[in-house]
Amino acid sequence: MANLRPLVIAREFDLARDTLRELNSFLHRRAAVEGVSQIHVKNPDGAHSIACGLNADLDVQIHGHVGYYVAGMNQHASVTVHGNAGPGAAENMMSGRVHVTGFASTAAGASAHGGLLVIDGDASLRCGISLKGADIVVGGGVGSFSAFMAQAGRIVICGDAEDALGDSLYEAVIYVRGKVRSLGADARFEAMTDTDRAAVKSLLAAAGFDHDPAQFQRVASAKSLYHWHADADQEY
């Protein structure tokens, strides 16, 4: 008995026929109740807000490109986009896993609190902006101002980073394998420790990449912007 695998009950939505509202309503209200654990979405055709606001252990497979905010505010679910994603993929994710097999547009993983976002291709501008604890692994490069004001969490960039990486960082940490065109205000390179290498190894494994962690550099906050010095006596 112990070797029996749980039964996967699947359901398919075709957005050429079904509406986004029908899909999301099913995912929010009925999937878990009906015991449906895997949902396939065909013909997404760049629709916005697919599978946003999920709050159950569901496996959502989207076959094609999606628009804005795929898997926005995700909790618990695993959402895979077999294609490219528009802006704000997995924005404000709390937990679970979101995987984009192609490229991701701006603000991927914005303000995400938890879970893992994997982007096999490149991520555009502001990837991981205002990150609040989630992990992001990007197989390619990231655009300018990525990790802007990122507060917590980790971003692994297997390719290059454009301008102003980590501008105004708080406590989030960035690991980058390729070239960094420029660092943002208050961001700095720091020495990699064994803990960092272990973290990178673990995140790469979770994302399905096999780069050598020794190839990565660490970027973190110099913390010089942590205070306005409003109480400081600077009289001269």
């Binding site: 807000s49 606001g53 709050n55 505010m73 404000n92 603000a107 303000s111 507060q151 006596d233 009289e235």
Partner: protein, 444 residues
């Protein structure tokens, strides 16, 4: 013998000299709390034309005058129904203590109105005490999470704030205690900056999509408000309508803040009076009055202010600073053990006095309203605060209905622009009502 004649400069008066010398000494701009202190045209510059021969008044105390207010009727399947058109403006946990947030919720629930969260997320105290709670989605997204989205009664996307349109928020480190830090995912004691732009959208076309995402997440149940700081109000309101807002909140320059640069507070944005007229014009232009509701805020203090705002076309008002003052802000005393205790020395230590204090940013509020200090926050008993605020809101509502009845209205929402005149040319031009005793509306 007479002394030398002293002649103060108009351009370089004592306050300007103090500002320059302070800047020269410190190299830092001033940060402070509350709203603009300069005088700008406001609701005091308008007067009501009550009933006489050409209008028939209602009996002031006995005849019914409805105050029920519906917000969010455009798309939401669960619009907000309030007993009065006076709401509590968004103020953050962080700026205010959890005890104050609880007091706001208790008072608002008692009089049948809503409170609004503010930057930093939703506290359990506020959710538990506030029957109708509007949950703000701010650029910082501090503490923003889907569980609270689902348990909110409405969502308010904040584009800007009247005290600092175009600027992000700030919460100085002395107010970032362990609980505030945890809720905002920040280290304790850092001077926290809130971004001035949302992280995942960048313009009105994106806002359309963002609003739809929030509707999808909430299964189209909850009203979506959009709040703007008053600048280019006519255009902003139209864009917010096109973006799909159910309710638009316009916050004029007199609106308060917990901490912002003084130069921002006094020099950025337009007065509430002018902002309100532009907002109503925009809704009229789109034929959206009554479909998209309008909430006005920024320096609303009294029932007269509320009545004038409704007469100009607002559906409701939001009050922030007035609410804090009702709780005890700028009072000489705070209540402890049922006794009034002097806070004079604490004001003096901040270099100020009751009636002049704007030191919310320091976290050392002498009356326990805008503080996270464990000792100071005890100076505001939630039960006492709730009672005082309930009384204030009831008074304001009574004043509102008194004026409405005098104007012959059975419903406060029947107040109209035709009931108003202006005392000054400036107010007449901004509000779009005639100068008193004339039929002249400047610019018309």
């Amino acid at each position: 013998m007479t002394g030398p004649q002293l002649h103060e400069s108009a351009g370089f008066d004592r306050s300007t000299i103090e500002y320059i010398q302070r800047a020269a000494a410190s190299g830092l701009y001033e940060i402070r709390g509350l709203g603009a202190k300069r005088r700008v045209p406001n609701f005091d510059d308008l007067l009501f034309l009550a009933a006489s021969l050409s209008r028939y008044p209602l009996e002031g105390y006995r005849e019914r005058c409805a105050t029920k207010t519906l917000l969010g009727t455009r798309y939401a399947t669960r619009p907000i129904e309030l007993a009065i058109p006076i709401t509590v403006a968004g103020m953050s946990f962080g700026a205010l203590s959890a005890r104050v947030k609880e007091a706001l919720g208790r008072a608002a629930s008692e009089v049948g109105t809503s409170t609004t969260t503010g930057d930093g997320g939703m506290t359990e105290e506020e959710r538990a005490s506030s029957k109708t709670l509007v949950y703000q989605c701010l650029p910082s997204r501090y503490g923003f999470n889907p569980d609270d989205v689902r348990r909110a009664d409405a969502i308010e996307i904040v584009i800007g704030q009247g005290a600092k349109p175009g600027g992000g928020g700030m919460l100085l480190g002395q107010k970032v205690n362990p609980r505030v830090a945890r809720m905002r995912t920040l280290p304790e004691g850092v001077d926290q900056r809130s971004a001035s732009r949302h992280p995942d959208w960048t313009g009105p076309d994106d806002l359309v999509i963002k609003i739809k995402e929030l509707r999808e997440i909430t299964d189209w149940e909850k009203p979506i408000y959009v709040k703007v700081g008053a600048t280019r109000v006519f255009n902003d309101v139209k864009l917010a309508v096109h973006a799909g807002a159910d309710v638009i909140v316009v916050d004029g320059m007199q609106g308060g803040t917990a901490a912002t640069q003084t130069v921002f507070i006094e020099h950025v944005g337009i007065p509430t009076l002018a902002a309100l007229r532009q907002a109503v014009d925009a809704l009229d232009d789109l034929n959206m009055r009554g479909t998209v509701q309008l909430v006005i805020s920024g320096g609303i203090r009294s029932g007269a202010d509320v009545a004038k705002a409704l007469a100009m076309g607002a559906d409701a008002v939001a009050i922030g600073q007035g609410v804090l003052v009702a709780l005890g802000c700028n009072s000489e005393t705070y209540v402890a053990g049922g006794e009034h205790v002097s806070a004079r020395d604490d004001y003096a230590r901040l270099g100020t006095a009751a009636g002049f204090c704007h030191h919310c940013h320091t976290g050392k509020c002498p009356v326990g309203v805008t503080t996270q200090d464990a000792a100071l926050e005890l100076r505001l008993d939630p039960a006492v605060g709730a009672l005082r605020l309930r009384n204030y809101l009831k008074t304001v509502n009574m004043e509102l209905t008194t004026i409405a009845r005098a104007c012959g209205k059975q419903d406060v929402h029947h107040l109209e622009k035709e009931d108003l005149v202006a005392l000054t040319v400036e107010a007449a031009a901004m509000a779009g009502v005639p100068l008193a005793g004339t039929s002249w509306i400047p610019g018309r």
